[in-house]
């Protein structure tokens, strides 16, 4: 169990180190090294959990089971590759004078702070601590959104802070109700909020209270996931904040919020018995999937475009978890992995493309492939992957969601496919003119290492073609935990 | 043995074609109170052309020189498929009426290509109009053929004739309409008066002539001969499919004699009918031909519908 403490300790140490020397050039190396160590620890933990089952830490504060262990590895991996990308990106930003060393220090410290909050959310067993960690993640990223101090970024940060604050407050009210329901049966004492305990006794918990608690939790954490009626902060935060932050925000924060909601769904399903929680999530998921794919058509800013694509994919995952059958849950877990890999790779190429063209407005970015083939092809292949074309993993997971829906709710499939079609049209309408065409005058290639992108896309391609055995049974165990049966 | 008979019949077919043209010319002159030329005039024309030195226009390619031979070969082959005097001949079995239409199309295609090869306005114009008329005429012709095939359950000409002979004189509305449709199409395909004037040399009005404007000498002879064979072929088609009586069903000398006699009689009558229609009608504007051919198509469709509704209703399998 040392690995779990290590995972939490490394970002803490990283925060302190970066708070002290975050400003100068060595900061990037420290950041990369911290994330590298965290990845090593998480892989060690994963191997440990894989062989001898779920681990409960002393004092029952931290709990690792098959569901959150692969998310930890994913978080560490995406954190590492994004930090590799953020090195040259941030130094370029400093050269063109958009950032002062002091703000870079804030950026690096908050980067590690955000990673710490993510690990805490994933590893903690106590629902209250999970809420605190989620709030911590919000606080860490809010200052990053307004890093560039432009009026738009301040506005985006303010909205992000207020909306997420209100959302998180609702989640707290849900947690209080959860604790209240637990206290009825488990008596006073610290362990009434522990997920493991709640999971065992979920049958005896009071259904009415849990239903109410789930509504608050769903609306609360739903704001963090970016489900449609509550999504308004996400496009602003993504388009105004620095690109590495958008990458990790998109890749990790949304996943963890969904992780929290699914944890609550398991409890509520245990006690309610009917599919109320599932239907609520399906409704939210489908609504955000369709509305977000419509939003894609009229975007002008490239990062806003991909933030709506994130909303759309998160909607699909929420819908899949809502369906609840073993196939749908397996598909949702698989989609979580492929989506965060692909989306962070895309944000890396988008960052470089914006730097190359000097603007984020899509109608002024032209001729990427001819100026710098790596960026151009990276963006194009990334968009093909996220739009759900086969050789890549996103298609496999979307196909599975379709098959699961066809099995349980056949009349919903045309809606889903309509959404996929609209999303593809929306994305490609903007990407294609940017990538193709002649080089506008005065556009010179920039220094950019696109190894993270190549790595991510190769992984997604590999997942698309054939899911490796160990990952396969990882997902199956997690599906067993969530939906109660193995996908046959 | 019947292969030799088939080749003989084909040779007879080729030889008789200019005779029919001569006979048509004679009847036309008689109607116009002119002294008609002799029946053998077409043969003399062909011999004259055969001996003249052909002129080859500058931009012409090998297609210009090859086209007459291909047209003539295709038309002669087509003539082989249609039973003239006797019915069950092997040449009739190697192809059916759709292949016949296909060979007409092959001949027409090479003629059109030759027309466009010289690179003058007239060749292009003739080719364009020829293809337009052909593409409107073909559906009408095939509908007429289908009407025949639906009732005779075959597309093989000799089988169809046997069927009509076996069932004797039966007044079939579908056959009447099909006959009408086929006649109208025949006039359009062979370029007779209402659609195209074979005798004219006014560049802007001719269709068939425009394509062979540049030909001379032996090439012109071949093409003229081929068009005469085609005219006779259509005549024989109309005559033998709808009025096959008298055609030889075995190879005894008297049956063959009777067959030859009857076909000469029928073709003569058809020629008179053709000349009468040419005397009555005048050449139509090119865009009026569209209504003419759609009327032919309508006739064939009526023939088909009448077959299905009236005649075939009681047939139970």
């Amino acid at each position: 169990m040392i690995a779990v403490y290590l995972i939490l300790l490394i970002p803490l140490v990283g925060m302190v180190a970066l708070a002290w020397r975050g400003g100068d050039v060595s900061a990037e190396r420290i950041n990369i090294r911290c994330n590298g160590l965290a990845l090593a620890a998480s892989v060690w933990l994963a191997a440990d959990v894989l062989w001898n089952g779920p681990r409960l830490s002393a004092g029952q504060l931290l709990y690792i089971d098959s569901y959150n262990v692969y998310l930890i590895v994913l978080t560490a991996f995406v954190g590492l590759t994004t930090s590799i990308f953020s090195g040259p990106y941030m130094s370029h930003e400093r050269e063109i004078g958009r950032l002062t060393p002091r703000r870079l220090k804030l950026y690096h410290t908050m980067y590690q702070g955000f990673m710490l909050a993510m690990y805490l959310v994933l590893t903690t067993n106590n629902m209250g601590v999970m809420w605190v960690a989620m709030e911590g993640a919000t606080l860490a990223t809010v200052l990053l959104v307004s890093l560039y101090r432009t009026p738009e970024s301040v506005e985006a940060a303010w909205k992000y802070f207020i909306l997420c604050g209100v959302g998180i407050a609702q989640a707290l009210f849900g947690t209080v109700l959860l604790y209240f329901a637990a206290e009825q049966h488990l008596g006073v004492g610290g362990d009434a909020l522990l997920w493991t305990v709640l999971h065992e006794h979920s049958a005896q918990l009071e259904p009415a209270i849990l239903g109410l608690a789930f509504v608050f939790l769903l609306v609360g954490y739903g704001t963090k996931i970016g489900l449609v009626p509550l999504h308004n902060w996400l496009p602003d935060a993504h388009s105004e904040g620095p690109t590495p932050m958008s990458a990790i925000l998109s890749g990790l924060l949304l996943n963890d919020a969904l992780y929290a909601v699914v944890r609550c769904k398991i409890l509520v399903d245990g006690s309610l018995g009917n599919h109320l929680a599932g239907h609520l999530m399906m409704g939210f998921g489908l609504l955000s999937f369709l509305v977000a794919s419509l939003f894609l058509h009229r975007q002008t800013d490239i990062k806003r475009l991909f933030s709506y694509s994130s909303i759309e994919h998160m909607g699909l995952m929420t819908y899949a978890f809502g369906v609840g059958s073993p196939w749908a849950t397996f598909a949702a877990l698989f989609h979580m992995t492929t989506h965060s890999l692909t989306k962070s790779a895309i944000f890396v190429t988008v960052g470089h493309a914006a730097q190359l063209a000097g603007t984020q407005r899509m109608d002024r970015i032209r001729g990427l492939i001819l100026t710098q083939p790596t960026i151009g092809w990276g963006l194009l292949v990334g968009t093909v992957a996220i739009a759900g074309f086969p050789p890549f993993g996103v298609f496999a997971s979307e196909f599975l969601v379709l098959v699961a829906t066809m099995h349980d709710y056949p009349w919903l499939t045309p809606l889903l496919l309509l959404g996929v079609g609209l999303a593809f049209a929306g994305l490609f309408r903007h990407i294609q003119p940017m990538v193709y065409g002649d080089v506008p005058e005065g556009q010179k290639p920039i220094a950019a290492n696109l190894w993270p992108v190549m790595l991510h896309l190769a992984l997604v391609l590999w997942l698309g073609l054939s899911i490796p055995a160990f990952l396969g049974n990882w997902f199956s165990q997690a599906t067993q935990l969530i939906s109660g049966a193995l996908p046959q | 043995m019947d292969w030799i008979m088939a080749i003989l019949e084909d040779l007879l077919f080729i030889a008789a074609a200019p005779l029919l043209a001569g006979w048509i010319k004679r009847v036309k002159c008689r109607l116009q109170n002119r002294k008609p030329p002799s029946l053998l005039q077409p043969y003399r024309d062909l011999l004259k052309l055969y001996r003249k030195q052909p002129i080859l226009p500058h931009p012409a390619s090998w297609i210009f020189r090859a086209a007459p031979y291909v047209v003539f070969a295709a038309t002669v082959a087509a003539a082989g498929f249609v039973p003239l005097v006797a019915v069950d001949l092997p040449t009739a079995r190697i192809a059916d009426v759709i292949v016949l239409v296909g060979f007409f199309a092959l001949a027409r295609t090479f003629l059109v290509l030759a027309g466009m090869d010289i690179g003058t306005a007239f060749g292009g114009m003739g080719s364009s109009r020829e293809m337009t008329i052909a593409s409107l005429a073909e559906p009408a012709m095939l509908m007429a053929v289908f009407t025949l095939a639906m009732s005779a359950h075959t597309t093989n000409l000799s089988q169809a004739m046997n069927y009509v002979l076996d069932t004797g004189l039966v007044l079939r509305p579908s056959f009447v309409f099909a006959l009408g449709g086929l006649m109208l199409v025949a006039i359009a395909e062979t370029g007779r008066i209402p659609v195209d004037n074979p005798a004219t040399h006014l560049e802007l009005t001719m269709i068939h002539e425009a394509m062979i404007l540049e030909y001379s000498g032996r090439w012109l002879a071949l093409i003229e001969w081929a068009s005469q064979i085609k005219l006779m072929l259509y005549g024989v088609l109309i005559a033998n499919i709808f009025f096959p009586w008298g055609i030889a069903r075995d190879f005894s000398p008297e049956a063959l004699g009777l067959g030859v006699g009857m076909i000469v009689l029928k073709l003569g009558l058809l020629a008179i009918l053709l000349v009468l229609s040419e005397a009555v009608f005048a050449k139509m504007r090119i865009f009026r031909v569209q209504e003419y051919l759609s009327f032919a198509y309508l006739l064939s469709v009526l023939g088909l519908l009448s077959h299905i509704i009236l005649e075939a209703a009681r047939v139970h399998h």
Binding site: G128, L139, E155, A169, V176, Y179, S239 | -
Partner: protein
């Protein structure tokens, strides 16, 4: 379980709950920022009192610590912070006109009725005497959100946010024997950091649009283009 057969302490807690709901209503109708912060401070104090009273009734010692903590935090530090900010920003004289107060008040009452209707199933099952105050805490949360929706001043938004936190804290105290200590500390810490960050933001917003009127913050819009 009508109020008459409750002992004196429980009746006191229910009275405080009523007063907290009253402060929420007052905040809803208050157009001056200074007075708004003062009412928020009163609400914090009342909340601390209720927590102390609950600690007494349920004789649960660690509630006293959280009561002291909330008094210190929500009663004194945050209101002071906001008060100094308003004066430094020069907003103390500014009148934040509320567009149609009557409709707002009716909305508020409807919200209270609705929150009671929603928390009805919970109240029936529990044995805790102070439970029926949970409807009040839900009402305070919803009124806090209504306050944020109806006001244009950024400071008013912060006060609304803090009153939602108060409502949540009150719900924790009333419905359970108080959250576990580690969660209490975490929540308190988060609220403090939130207040600091708000301060930072006020200066940034002032710098960018030189006013704290929230309606001016709508450049990132996709509606009209």
């Amino acid at each position: 379980m009508s109020i008459t057969d409750l002992d004196l302490y429980s009746q006191a807690i229910l009275l405080l709950a009523g007063l907290i709901a009253l402060t929420s209503f007052l905040m809803l109708g208050q157009s001056r920022l200074v007075r708004l912060v003062f009412i928020f401070a009163v609400q914090g104090a009342l909340l601390a009192g209720a927590t102390a009273m609950a600690a007494g009734v349920l004789d649960y010692p660690h509630l006293y610590i959280s009561a002291g903590l909330s008094l210190l935090l929500k009663g004194i530090i945050i209101p002071l912070l906001l008060h100094r900010l308003i004066h430094r920003m020069g907003l103390h004289r500014e009148m934040d006109t509320i567009d149609h107060p009557a409709r707002l008040m009716m909305g508020g009452t409807a919200l209270v009725v609705f929150s009671y209707y929603v928390s009805l199933p919970i109240v029936q099952h529990s044995t805790l005497v102070t439970l029926n105050a949970i409807a009040v805490s839900l009402a305070v949360v919803l009124l806090g959100m209504l306050l944020m929706i109806s006001r244009r001043q950024a400071v008013a938004h912060v006060v609304g946010f803090m009153s939602i936190e108060n409502g949540l804290f009150f719900a924790a105290v009333v419905s359970t024997y108080g959250m576990p200590m580690v969660v209490e500390l975490g929540v308190a810490f988060d609220v403090l950091v939130a207040a600091v960050v708000f301060g930072v933001f006020f200066f940034q917003i002032r710098a960018s649009i030189d006013s704290l009127n929230v309606d001016r913050l709508s450049k990132l819009s996709e509606a009209e283009q």
